[in-house]
Amino acid sequence: MGTFSDTAILLLIAVIKITVVLVVLLTAIAYTTWLERKVVAHIQARWGPYLVGPHGLLQPLADGAKFILKEDIIPIEADKFIYWLAPFLGFVLAFLSFAVIPFGEGFTLYGHPVRFQIADLNVGLLYVFAVTSLGVYSIALAGWSSNSKYPLLGGLRSSAQMISYELSLGLALIGTLMMAGTLSLRGIVDAQSGFWHIHGVNTWVPHWYIFAQPIGFFVYFTSAIAETNRVPFDLPEGETELVAGFHTEYSSMKFAMFFMSEYANMITVSCLATLLFFGGWHGPGFAWLPGIVQIFLPVFWFCLKVFCFMFFYIWMRGTLPRFRYDQLMSLGWKFLLPLAMLNILVTSFLIAWHG
């Protein structure tokens, strides 16, 4: 591993990256709540948060203060350890997947290359799947530990939904993995650089996998919405159905943690969609920009694409009605799963034919 100072420098760089990612992520989550309330409000022809700060921009601060100061109610019959563990686990797992997400190219600092990524695992995508699979526990345990009818039902339904859609989520991405040839997220983005060439002619269309895997993207994004328990698949936590589903008995900070982990999962899924289908940080570069701006331009493109996905999520929340639970499960098992497998079949056939 070299000398002690080498390890110390690497450790320091890693800690700085982690701090930056965490701070940016927490701010993004806070302002996603603001964005959601504003966008849904405008879709419903009303204003949304308006009073706290200009156009309600300080609303997340007010919400945070409310959550911290609210009384923390714990049901008497609740299993104390698991009642505390469930939101904490969900919160930690939601942030773990950001350890492998690349935000941009990187730069060289005194001869050392510094990349905009905390850890570049060569099984990076599988690591994200592993963290998502573990996320099922927080919901199931939350529902069970509250020791009450509605949370238990909501928790079981939600976990069954999540594990069903995990399958089509994974299978939908195999098409892009076959095209990229690697599981490392940075490698997949690097494989999408340049433009598509048809018979040697350069069409000026970027080499993004969305153009080669439209069905894969459709299956992936639908499964992702079901994974993150968002409309139209949010029956397990819908207000009119099960009171509030698995987080009925939670209040103040623990409820806030569930909320934050849901938004962090949304951001993770949007990041994966941009990395795998929309070319990650690739975007038009401008040679006339100063050096320091050029370093952060890929990061800007990445954030812009993720923002588009988040907006799309919120747009759907304001527009679509909810699926019934049996419709939801049959959609996942009987439609998306066979479609994903068909996609793999067709993609592998085409790759073997051309390659």
């Binding site: 591993m1 299993d79 350890f81 698991i82 563990l85 695992l121 060569n122 099984v123 599988l126 690591y127 799947f129 592993a130 699979s133 573990l134 099922v136 526990y137 199931a140 345990l141 069970w144 238990l152 079981l156 976990s159 069954a160 594990i163 599981l183």
Partner: protein
């Protein structure tokens, strides 16, 4: 680097001990999940990164979810202490400890107790495993797919309410 193995091994052993000693099944299940994840870290340290991630996705993320579901659905509560033979209790612990000591002694005699591996690490990446899995081990791979199909059918038939 070596200290990491001892840390994860200690976590795994403590969690396994907790799993065996806990009275409530849900706590046992959670302790088993901790064991599985720390073993995945040990596999990572041994260069088996694909198997490590697979262990978390399949074992900790799917099989244990099944266990937790069944525990919740069947409402398994605390275990009551047994009223069976007392001889088994008094003989059991020393016998188990003796078994363990015997295994460890044999292992230390047969296998090197110092020094690291003398050969290069095999390629534990997905590409490496894929090369072997789809060539030399293609037949067992196909047979396990049939095995899983049989298991799915069996589970559905066994758990149905009426025929």
């Amino acid at each position: 680097m070596q200290i990491l193995f001892y840390i994860f091994a200690a976590v795994a052993i403590l969690a396994a001990l907790n799993m065996v000693l806990q009275r409530t099944p849900v706590y046992s299940a959670l302790s088993l999940i901790v064991v599985l994840c720390s073993l995945a870290a040990v596999y990572l340290l041994l260069g088996a990164e694909f198997i490590a991630v697979l262990q978390v996705i399949v074992y900790a993320g799917a099989i244990m979810v099944l266990f937790v579901f069944v525990i919740m659905l069947l409402n398994a509560g605390r275990e009551t202490p047994s009223h069976r033979s007392r001889i088994a209790k008094w003989l059991g612990a020393p016998l188990i400890a003796g078994f363990l000591v015997e295994i460890v002694v044999v292992v230390r005699q047969q296998f090197p107790s110092s020094g690291g591996p003398s050969v290069a690490a095999p390629n534990g990446s997905p590409a490496g495993i894929g090369h072997l899995l789809f060539r030399s081990y293609a037949l067992p791979f196909e047979v396990t797919s049939i095995l899983i199909l049989v298991a799915v059918l069996g589970a559905v038939v066994l758990a149905k309410k009426e025929f």
